[in-house]
Amino acid sequence: MTDLAIETAGLTKRYGDETAVDDLSLEIEPGVVYGFLGPNGAGKTTTMRMLTTLTRPTAGTARVVGQSVENRDAVTPHIGYLPEEPPIYDELTGREQLEYAAGLRDLPEEAACERIESMLERFDLLEDADKRIDAYSKGMRQKVGVIQAVLHDPDVAFLDEPTSGLDPRAARTMRETIADLADREMTIFLSTHILPVVDELADTIGVLHEGRLVAEGDPETLKRRAEAGAVADATGGRTLEDVFLEVTDTDEYVDQRA
């Protein structure tokens, strides 16, 4: 059980009469990039909040690196989280923000400074590192948020739309960084609407629709299954977008988990 990076069983979250996440069961191995897809309002963010201990599940269980999400103190040392809006202070500079995050995590000062420098350089932020964040563009803020989320080398990083607001070059850097992190055995739980990113990076994809997991598998398997179940498009193949549209059709969906 504890070998899994993320494990949920019957995970459910209700707000009053509304069910945001319904009976979600996941098993994610360590070092995997898990692409978490779903239309707006499907319950992706709520799922991430439950897995990061920010919202309590209404029913079911969830474990991250073997620790129950009901136990915040046990889970938080193992995770990093980039929410949709980067959790950074406008008044600090990029470098100060990252030093603050390192301090809050109690990272050794020298090692933290080295890591911050290298990450700033990697994301082309060194030149602006001593400017206040309120003068940053959306993409620059996003970069600071991502660096902050993985600065302490967590076992599992939850990234909500990490490429949002990034220009093509920065988006590529982000994809390469995520791939590197996964190579270092970090599990990445990646939520995004940008399907090519998931197609390129994800080892496994889960598609959430109306709170339920309606498809799961590696990108190629999902595409093959979609191909088998529908007429191929004009180019003769099926894209991840076709799969996504098919399984999240609001009129009717078919459970296509592998």
Binding site: Y15, T46, R49, T52, T53, L54, T55, R56, R72, D73, T76, P77, I79, G80, Y81, P83, E85, P86, P87, I88, Y89, D90, E91, L92, T93, E96, E99, Y100, A101, A102, G103, L104, R105, D106, D130, K131, R132, I133, D134, A135, Y136, Q148
Partner: protein, 534 residues
């Protein structure tokens, strides 16, 4: 296009959004109700109701209404003074609001791309005025009705209604125009613009101090054209010898002032929204970002707490408006202490100590959730983040604040001629009050958070009602000290009185301060990322 309809629509929609925000935090609505109730009761004053006179013995509008027939000259003189002072006070508060309000910082894109700019500005102004009216309105209406009831003549209500409307409208609009004018004038200087909160608060503080200390200031204002509005208020009150010329002049002046103020608001808001005069690329001088207290930090607190303290100081230095209320306790109670220093100097040291201790908790600790709002997911997913943040905000306030409070206690105690033992007791009580004050501040701030700001990631001043609730709580915590040290100044056994006061203060401060801190910690723990508490 129907301009008035457009402006009314913008005002209504913006205000509906604000009301829904307040509904989401019912404690804020309750605080507004409490403030308006207290203000209304104060202006209405004693009423001939069973038991009420014992509950509220202070004379107010009703009482002076009953005197209108028998002492018309005295009532008219008082009305002139009250009207003039009310205009100045309302204008002062409105100008401070205009100086700090986020509504005037950036143009609301959805409005300026849809309706003519003046309509957008006046719509936003309407929303701002409505927000102020939630507090000022009941006070003005209550005062007018109580005065009318006191005179026993229904016709009085016409004058009081028109007069009160003129006083409130003039104060709010002229104040807003003045505040926006000041803001526009300093926009070219990023340094001055950043310090506008402090400048505005100090100016308001000095104004209120002047009005509070000197009766002559009120009398002088009553002799100015502002006093005409006293005549307008009582224009239809039988037997009061108002000057009809003044009444007409007051009405004409009100029309002129309102038109000028509206034009000024449109011009200054246009400039604030669109003039790109703040040339600040966000570069920070590396040396300038370090505080003189930083060398002590590593020795004093855990590294995690030190990181929060360091970040908090930097944020305060770059968002000084979060500290806007630090001066206000002095503005509210300063005049009373100045009067006391002449009549009962023995009270001054303990009062100054209490003010100073309260001021320490008026900064970021009074809005712990609001100041962290967008960062909460990161804090709550960091081991010990919740504790570090609360400790960090507390230490960031106490490290510069506690020595200041102790120094204030020692200096005023020495000047007040306190016996060394009494002085020592005062220092102990001061330390207890300042530490407990921060705990109380965290608790009150967690209960009445200000979760709105220009952006999600900046420091924001505490909720106004949190400040009042905090001051109320601190006055309760300090009550043994006030009583004990007051007795020590005039009684026969000062050392005993001071010792008892200190023991009681320390005990009460420890209990209330701990409760406040625990409440804040529980609230932060329960806080869910989507703003819903478990």
């Amino acid at each position: 296009m129907n301009w008035s309809r457009t402006i009314a629509l913008v005002t209504a929609v913006r205000h509906r959004v604000e009301l829904r925000r307040r509904r989401k935090h019912p404690q804020l609505g309750f605080a507004v109700l409490l403030g308006a109730t207290f203000g209304t009761l104060s202006i209405v004053g004693q009423l001939p109701l069973p038991r009420y006179e014992r509950l509220w013995p202070e004379p107010g509008a009703y009482h002076y209404g009953t005197l209108a027939a028998t002492h018309p000259d005295a009532v008219l003189a008082l009305a002139r003074e009250v009207a003039a002072v009310a205009i100045v006070v309302i204008a002062g508060l409105a100008s401070l609001t205009a100086v700090v309000s986020d509504d005037w910082e950036d143009p609301p894109v959805e409005l300026v791309t849809a309706v003519p700019l003046p309509a957008a500005i006046l719509g936003v102004l309407g929303d701002e005025l409505l927000e102020s009216a939630w507090f000022v309105g009941p006070v003005a209406v209550g005062g007018g009705l109580a005065f009318t009831a006191g005179t026993g003549r229904l016709v009085t209500v016409v004058g009081t209604a028109v007069g009160a409307a003129a006083v409130v409208a003039m104060g709010l609009l002229a104040g807003t125009a003045a505040g926006l004018g000041f803001r526009t004038a300093i926009r070219r200087s990023p340094r001055l613009y950043g310090a506008r909160y402090a400048v505005g608060a100090v100016t308001l503080f000095l104004t209120f101090m002047g009005l509070g200390i000197s009766r002559a200031a009120g009398a002088a204002l009553a002799r100015s054209p502002l006093g005409w509005y006293g005549d307008l208020l009582l224009a239809t009150t039988p037997a009061v010898p108002t000057a009809s010329g003044r009444v007409l002049l007051a009405l004409a002046a009100a029309g002129g002032v309102l038109a000028t103020a509206l034009a000024a608001v449109v011009a200054t808001a246009r400039s604030l929204w669109f003039a790109e005069t703040v040339l600040d690329d966000g570069t920070v001088d590396a040396d300038g970002s370090r505080s003189r207290f930083e060398p002590f930090l590593a020795r004093l607190v855990a590294p995690r707490t030190a990181a929060v303290v360091r970040a908090t100081w930097r944020r305060i230095r770059r968002s000084p408006r979060a500290m806007i209320y630090v001066l206000l306790p002095f503005a509210l109670v300063g005049p009373a202490s100045v009067e006391l220093s002449a009549s009962r100097p023995g009270f001054v040291p303990v009062l100054v100590t209490l003010y100073a201790a309260s001021a320490v908790g008026m900064g970021t600790t009074l809005n712990p959730l609001g100041n962290e709002r967008v960062a909460l997911p990161a804090i709550l997913t960091t081991p010990g983040g919740r504790t570090s943040v609360l400790h960090g905000h507390a230490v960031a306030a106490l490290l510069p604040g506690a020595p200041f409070v102790v120094a204030a206690a020692v200096v005023t105690g020495l000047f007040g001629g306190y016996h060394p033992a009494v002085l020592l007791a005062l220092v102990v009580a001061a330390l207890a009050l300042v530490v407990a004050g921060v705990g109380v501040s965290l608790g009150v701030g967690a209960f009445l958070p200000n979760l709105e700001g220009p952006a999600n990631a900046t420091l924001v001043p505490p909720e106004l009602y949190a400040m009042f609730a905090y001051l109320l709580a601190m006055s309760v915590v300090a009550s043994p000290s006030l009583a004990g040290f007051g007795d020590a100044a005039f009684g026969h056994s000062p050392t005993t009185s001071a010792a008892v006061a200190t023991v009681l203060t320390v005990a009460l401060a420890a209990a209330v301060g701990t409760a406040g801190y625990r409440y804040a910690a529980r609230t932060l723990e329960r806080f869910e990322a989507d703003g819903v508490e478990n």
